[in-house]
Symmetry: C2
Subunit: 239 residues, 2 copies
Amino acid sequence: MQTSLEKLRPVEHLSQVDKIEMSLQEYLRTENFQPGDSLPKEMELAEAMGVSRTAIREALSRFRTLGIIETRKNRGMVIASPDVFNNMERVLNPQLLDDETMNEIFEMRLVIEVGLGDVLFLRKHNADFSILEKIIEKEEKATKKIDIVKYDIEFHSMLYKLSGNKTIMRFQKMLRPVFDHVYAKLSENTEAFAGNIPEDISPVTHSDLLNTLKHGTPEQFRNQMRTHLMVYFKKLSTE
Amino acid sequence: MQTSLEKLRPVEHLSQVDKIEMSLQEYLRTENFQPGDSLPKEMELAEAMGVSRTAIREALSRFRTLGIIETRKNRGMVIASPDVFNNMERVLNPQLLDDETMNEIFEMRLVIEVGLGDVLFLRKHNADFSILEKIIEKEEKATKKIDIVKYDIEFHSMLYKLSGNKTIMRFQKMLRPVFDHVYAKLSENTEAFAGNIPEDISPVTHSDLLNTLKHGTPEQFRNQMRTHLMVYFKKLSTE
DNA sequence: AGTTATACATATGTACGACATATGTATGGC
DNA sequence: GCCATACATATGTCGTACATATGTATAACT
């Protein structure tokens, strides 16, 4: 009963600005606005919809927040092509997410890195290997736990970069705080890892991964990455 | 030279509301606000920061848009736990994305579905198979192209669902419009697919995937999914 | 006493009017 | 023709007033 009520509540006490927002959204869609097109002036919109400029501005402010429009002083407002992930980033910063979502996002990371093999092989260039080699070298020389973690993260980040897919890269960059948070939480758990960094006790090293990337196949890479990250899968699945 | 200028431009003509937004963001972080906590009144914030209530409200409106806060008439404002993907969804609706981003998002889908194997095997239950079987049955009976596409999408959507990861599911649901768009564009390309649905000419069928999910291993599933989606990888990589 | 009804206080929502600021455009001087 | 200045215009910011809804205290009633 409660759930069904919650379903229809949002449409009921719809604020006026909410309605304006929807109306404008509809307007943009039906008029088929494209990035670069300019919108009517605030006053014109206000008069057309029979509301004050204040209310219109608040709705427009939301669009500005989402990156759908951009405004400049005398030029008016123009449609922009929004950066899909920019908004998520702002939401993630305050770290308001509950643990379940965090774990799910971390699991998504695992899924992506395993599946990343094919794209990596599609776009790998010999020049890239040296970068990974240098990171591995630094990692092996490192003694402090904090450094090992740092280079570990650097290695995985570089893989995203080498995927050549800017959106995937952006996605990783954005979710890094979440990754790090879950990662740190798992690392702290000395029961499971005996104080070691999780991947330190993994049967597959970064060096192995690089080697496979050089001379192996996508399939081998996927399997190795799966094994490399196995410790996380095990940990997450038991919760 | 131009690039370096563009780099610092954003900080220059930072609107006052932008500054307020950052300031509030900082405030929320340092004061360690948790979901459910209530914020000071608008007037208090305005006075504390030495700006008008209008400006504060516009900044707060952004937070409301992003789902960081919720406001009720006399109760004031409280911190909410934002739905990470809700904002992206609103941005995606107007379909303002450029082709490159679309393709990259589609590629991300491929990466995820290949990597999804492990999670699926982790959480698979026998009861789920019957659902997939029914979809495959309907798909095989279908004759119209539009129906085949429909059940094809349904099958893949169900896999996301069976992953048991609500965040991944949410992600797929949100990006579905993009998937469909790229998918439709590729399907239209009669040169590459001779009028067939891409996956129709794939050497691995949905039935094969289900069978592997039932009796196979995650590794086999990954490989089969990779082969199943191969046609897309080929198509995307040549662009 | 406990419950309901009413009135009041309060915080957000909306509106209007004024001025600030920055950008585009026209005018005038050289 | 070019440059500087002045003006027009659209967004940005502000202050005030009032509307609306929620919470709270007071009063009336059974």
